[in-house]
Structures are given as structure tokens and as C-alpha cells.
């Protein structure tokens, strides 16, 4: 039997994706006009993120609010979090860097401005960059990410620069909760604190959201899940933003460590476990498309999601690069077309395959989480020991769905002396808690044994195969071996 690939949890009514033929991919449920806009956007389309790359330029240092998960002092080369950058760029440098990256990495389709402060609190630098890129590199999609405080005043200008995607970070719609997340905002020439500040911020975010939708600009909403603060509240946020027309909701886990020096880090606020995050994403997905492949990247990240090639494009390196953008654009067009064709043909093959097997008896086995090592193209192509991150898929009788990614070595890539002495291998195995198999191109002898001991079956038999097909093949092997008979209870090891 062949099972369809799902990206949303099957609904409780039992309408599995195969029977209503609706969702093969998360973006397939979107209206055609929106799908057209996002199909090559790695951040908005789970499918596209295996093929297309993005970059951020750090032109916006100032911020007009403080969030308890952010510390403006922090800059560590090993750090990978939103709001962290190594090198601030002027608009002119940002344009040069973007064109250098676009010529070198033709899969790069999207340029975003996301900080390190708030792009709209730096309107001149942000809009100068957008204006020049719309003129000089018209084949690059532009997008911007904001806390929303200055958004209503910026909507008119945003609509002029052909920016069809905006991300607003909305962590709450209730000022009581907001006061626990935002200690202050700068508003009308004053620093305002507490509930009053949160109320203004929330009003501005909602107003900005409505204005963008009225202009026909796509809006994605980001929310940071903070256990005990807004975790119970985010389903409500999801409902509200969806009713106003946001097309995608991205619930991200709080990142908080004491060494970041943030309020949450120092005060010992914990982030959510993998299971808590997944449960909340599942709860919200009834209301809205959820995005599960977000990598919470730095405000100066370059490359495919999950990789960062920023080092190849530092200021001194781009100064020496000679870019013929007209020629680069020709090349980019050809490559984008080829990728699109590959994606389309894979999608058709998948549909044909599931149709061909549609009438086979359905398994009655429990779902299983599996980890996959990939560097893109939708295939299993990374050696276990080289994986910087794993994509987590759930296989069940309803099909295979993408759940999340997990970093192999957590948020720090520093040397082994920083941390509490656990080896990278131990950390990686801990990050895979709850998974019952790990699929990679190859697994060494030492990790093989440790994985088996940890109850995670290593599998190197599906190298270079498409991810979903391989996951389903392993699932069927497990079913045939009688490993999936127990009830669904207790299968999730706590992470």
C-alpha cells in the first residue's frame, strides 16, 4: 500500500487527506493566487524549502520595543538566533551583498530584512534597500519581518516596493499576557511600560495586519511559544489572525539560556519541549495553516534553511566580487525553471503513486516519529555524523507528514569546552528523543551502537531516495515486523 503525504494532522472527522484528495502538501490547500506567490518561497512552502534558498540583510539595527527573549548586547559567532548578527550593513552594502549572493547561489529567491532590530523602526535604511533592489534585482522576492508597532504607518510605503510578503510577530492579543512578554515600548516620544505598552503594541499589530490584508499583501504571523506565559493563549491568537486574513501561522519555541542574558534566560523561564510545541501546532492547525519548517534564522543568514553560508559573503569578500547581474538573471531563470519542473514532476509522481495504491487495505498501526538527515533536494543525503540538523517526520496509516526540524548540536556550535561536558554525539542522540528511527546516507559504527542503545533504529539503506517514500518504506517494514502493534499511548518518549 502507498500512503499519501500529509502536512497537517488528519482531522478528527476521519477525513484523511487521501479521501478528500485535498492536501498533498501544505500549500496545496491555499488559493491559487497565494500558492503562485509562495511556491518558490523557502520560508512559506515546506516543499520549496528543500530547493530554494533565502537570505537576510542586517540593515536595521534600531528597535522600538523590548522583548523578554531578546538581548541587544549579544553577538557571538557561534550563536544562531533571530536578532543576532555579526556585521551591520548600509543599504548600499546590502544591495551589493544581495546581488553577489544571487549570482553565486542561483537558488536564492528571497531577500528578507528582519533586523537585528525592527526593520520598520529603521524606515530609511530598510526602504532604501528595498527600493534599490526592486530596481536592480527585480527577480528577487522581497519580504520584511516586524514587531508591528510602526506597521500601520509603513503599509503605504511597503505596498510601493512590490513587497508581497510581511511577517508580523504576534505573541498575544491580550495586554495582561503582553505585559509579561514586553517590558517596554517607545511610543510618541516616551518609553511606556506594562499593560499600557502591551495594549498599544497589540492594537498597532492588529491594525497593521488588517491594513496589509486590505492592500492584498500576504501576511504570515510568527508567535513565540512561552510555556506558562502564552502557550494556552496561542490557539486564540491563531483564530484571531486567521479570521483577519493571515495565511500562515508559525509557532516557534522560545530559546532561553542564561548565557544569552535575556530576561527569560536569566530568570530561568524554560522553552517548550518538542512534544509541547508539536501539540500546540497540531491544536492550532485546525484553525490555520501551520509552518513547521522554520529555522529561526539569524538576521544575516544566507543559504538554504538550516544552512548558513554568510561567511562566504563578508564585506571584504563582496567588495572584490565583480557581478554581471544581467547574465546572472538569465542563469537564475533557467535554474528556477528546472527546479520548478523537478518539484512538479515529483508532486505528480507522488499523486500517481498514491492513486495507484488507493484501494489497498489500510494499516491499523500506531504512528512513529523518524528523523531524517538531508541537505536539500528532498532526498536523504547526509551522513549521520555530518548532520547539523534532522528533519522529523511522522509516519502513520494516514501517510507521512513533516513535523519539525531539530538541531543536532542545539544552539551553540562552539568547541567541546563550552557546555556541560556531554559529547556532541550524546547531545545529538538526546535531540532525537521520541524518534524510533533515523534515516541517513550512512551511519558510523560508534553512533550505530549508541543509537540502538537509545532505542533509535539507525538506517542507511535509503541513501539518495526521496524522504517521504523512504520513511513510508521503513514504516511498513516496522509494521511487517510486528513492531507497531501496541496502542498509541506512551509512544512519545518525553523529550
Amino acid at each position: 500500500m502507498q500512503l499519501p503525504v500529509l502536512n497537517e494532522a488528519p482531522t478528527k472527522s476521519g477525513c484523511a487527506a487521501s479521501s478528500c484528495g485535498s492536501t498533498e502538501n501544505q500549500i496545496d490547500v491555499l488559493p491559487d493566487a497565494i500558492r503562485e506567490k509562495v511556491q518558490n518561497h523557502p520560508c512559506y512552502s515546506e516543499d520549496a524549502h528543500h530547493y530554494f534558498a533565502r537570505m537576510h540583510v542586517a540593515v536595521a539595527p534600531a528597535c522600538n520595543i523590548q522583548c523578554h527573549y531578546c538581548n541587544r548586547k549579544y553577538d557571538c559567532a557561534n550563536e544562531s538566533r533571530p536578532g543576532v548578527v555579526s556585521e551591520l550593513l548600509t543599504p548600499d552594502q546590502a544591495v551589493k551583498k544581495t546581488m553577489a549572493v544571487a549570482a553565486t547561489i542561483p537558488q536564492m529567491t528571497v531577500l528578507g530584512i528582519a533586523g537585528p532590530g525592527d526593520p520598520l523602526a529603521n524606515p530609511e535604511r530598510t526602504f532604501e534597500t528595498f527600493r534599490r533592489l526592486s530596481e536592480e534585482a527585480p527577480d528577487i522576492k522581497l519580504c520584511v519581518s516586524t514587531n508591528g508597532l510602526a506597521l500601520p504607518d509603513a503599509v503605504e510605503e511597503l505596498s510601493k516596493h512590490n513587497i508581497d510578503h510581511v511577517t508580523i510577530t504576534i505573541n498575544c492579543v491580550d495586554p495582561e499576557i503582553g505585559a509579561k512578554i514586553y517590558p517596554w515600548i517607545f511610543w510618541n516620544n516616551r518609553r511606556i511600560k506594562g499593560k499600557k505598552a502591551a495594549k498599544i503594541l497589540i492594537e498597532q499589530q492588529q491594525k497593521g495586519l488588517e491594513m496589509l490584508i486590505a492592500k492584498g499583501i500576504l501576511v504570515k504571523v510568527n508567535s513565540v511559544m512561552i510555556p506558562g506565559v502564552n502557550d494556552q493563549h496561542l490557539a486564540e491568537v491563531s483564530r484571531v489572525v486567521k479570521s483577519k486574513g493571515a495565511f500562515l501561522h508559525n509557532v516557534m519555541p522560545l530559546i532561553a539560556e542564561a548565557e544569552h542574558g535575556t530576561f527569560y534566560g536569566v530568570m530561568g523561564q524554560r522553552g517548550p519541549t518538542h512534544d509541547e510545541l508539536q501539540d500546540l501546532q497540531d491544536a492550532c492547525s485546525g484553525d490555520m495553516n501551520m509552518m513547521r519548517h522554520c529555522r529561526q534564522c539569524r538576521a544575516d543568514a544566507v543559504g538554504l534553511l538550516g544552512e548558513d553560508r554568510g561567511d562566504e559573503f563578508t564585506l571584504d569578500k563582496i567588495e572584490t566580487m565583480e557581478i554581471d547581474y544581467q547574465a546572472a538573471m538569465e542563469k537564475r531563470k533557467v535554474i528556477h525553471q528546472a527546479i520548478q519542473e523537478e518539484m512538479d514532476s515529483k508532486r505528480l509522481a507522488k499523486a500517481a503513486n498514491s492513486a495507484a495504491h488507493a484501494d489497498e487495505p489500510k494499516l491499523k498501526t500506531r504512528p512513529v516519529l523518524m528523523a531524517v538527515a538531508t541537505s536539500g533536494q528532498g532526498v536523504i543525503n547526509v551522513h549521520f555524523g555530518h548532520a547539523k540538523e534532522f528533519l522529523i517526520y511522522e509516519a502513520s496509516p494516514d501517510g507521512v507528514r513533516f513535523i519539525s526540524h531539530r538541531k543536532a548540536d542545539q544552539y551553540c556550535g562552539g568547541d567541546s569546552t563550552c557546555g556541560d561536558g556531554e559529547s556532541t554525539l550524546q547531545l545529538t542522540i538526546r535531540a532525537l528523543a521520541g524518534c524510533e528511527a533515523v534515516l541517513c546516507s550512512k551511519v558510523g559504527y560508534e553512533p550505530w551502537e549508541m543509537l540502538e542503545t537509545a532505542g533509535i533504529m539507525p538506517n542507511g539503506e535509503h541513501a539518495m531516495e526521496p524522504i517521504e517514500e523512504a520513511v513510508m518504506a521503513v514504516y511498513k517494514e516496522m509494521a511487517a515486523a510486528g513492531k507497531l502493534q501496541e496502542s498509541a499511548q506512551g509512544i512519545r518518549a518525553s523529550a
Binding site: A121, F186, R190, G261, V266
Partner: protein
């Protein structure tokens, strides 16, 4: 009569455009205040504009040399808690 930006400044640019007297300028290793131009916002605003948007506690001093935003006032982290966390990290 002027405020002063000191070395804990992180160069985030936030203060520069809000200064009503154009007294703040980009410099190395951090932003500076032209003491001849700074009016401490007198007659223009009730509060120092630069210190009202600055995210870093202690980075801007008043004319008496005191931090306009003392430790804990912006982040909400009690200074003793911060000291405790930092000591804990140092000991590793």
C-alpha cells in the same frame, strides 16, 4: 549640560534619529553626543529622548554622571539575579 553615551553602547542607531537637537553622531567604537548641541531635551520633551529608546541599561549618563536607566530598569531583571546567573556561568 549634556548627556553622555559610554562604552556599553551597542551601536544600535536607535537614539540618533530621535534626538531633537541632532546632537548624536556615529563614531568608533560607539555613538557619541556633541555636548555643545545637547539640550537634555529641555523645552522640547519631558524626558530625554535618547535614553527613552536606548535598550541598554547604564549606556547613557545624565549631566551628573548618573545612569539614566539604572540596572534592572529596562530588562526587569533584578541586578542580584543577573549577578547570580553570571557568577554561575563563570564557574563552569
Amino acid at each position: 549640560m549634556a548627556v553622555k553615551i559610554i562604552e556599553s553602547c551597542v551601536n544600535c542607531f536607535a537614539c540618533q534619529p530621535v534626538c531633537p537637537s541632532q546632537a548624536i553622531y556615529e563614531a568608533k567604537p560607539h555613538f557619541l553626543v556633541d555636548s555643545k548641541k545637547c539640550t537634555e531635551c529641555e523645552g522640547a520633551f519631558a524626558e530625554y529622548q535618547c535614553a527613552s529608546i536606548c535598550p541598554i541599561e547604564g549606556a547613557i549618563l545624565n549631566s551628573l554622571g548618573e545612569a539614566i536607566n539604572p540596572p534592572g530598569s529596562l530588562t526587569g531583571i533584578p541586578p542580584e539575579k543577573m549577578a547570580e546567573a553570571m557568577a554561575e556561568l563563570q564557574s563552569h
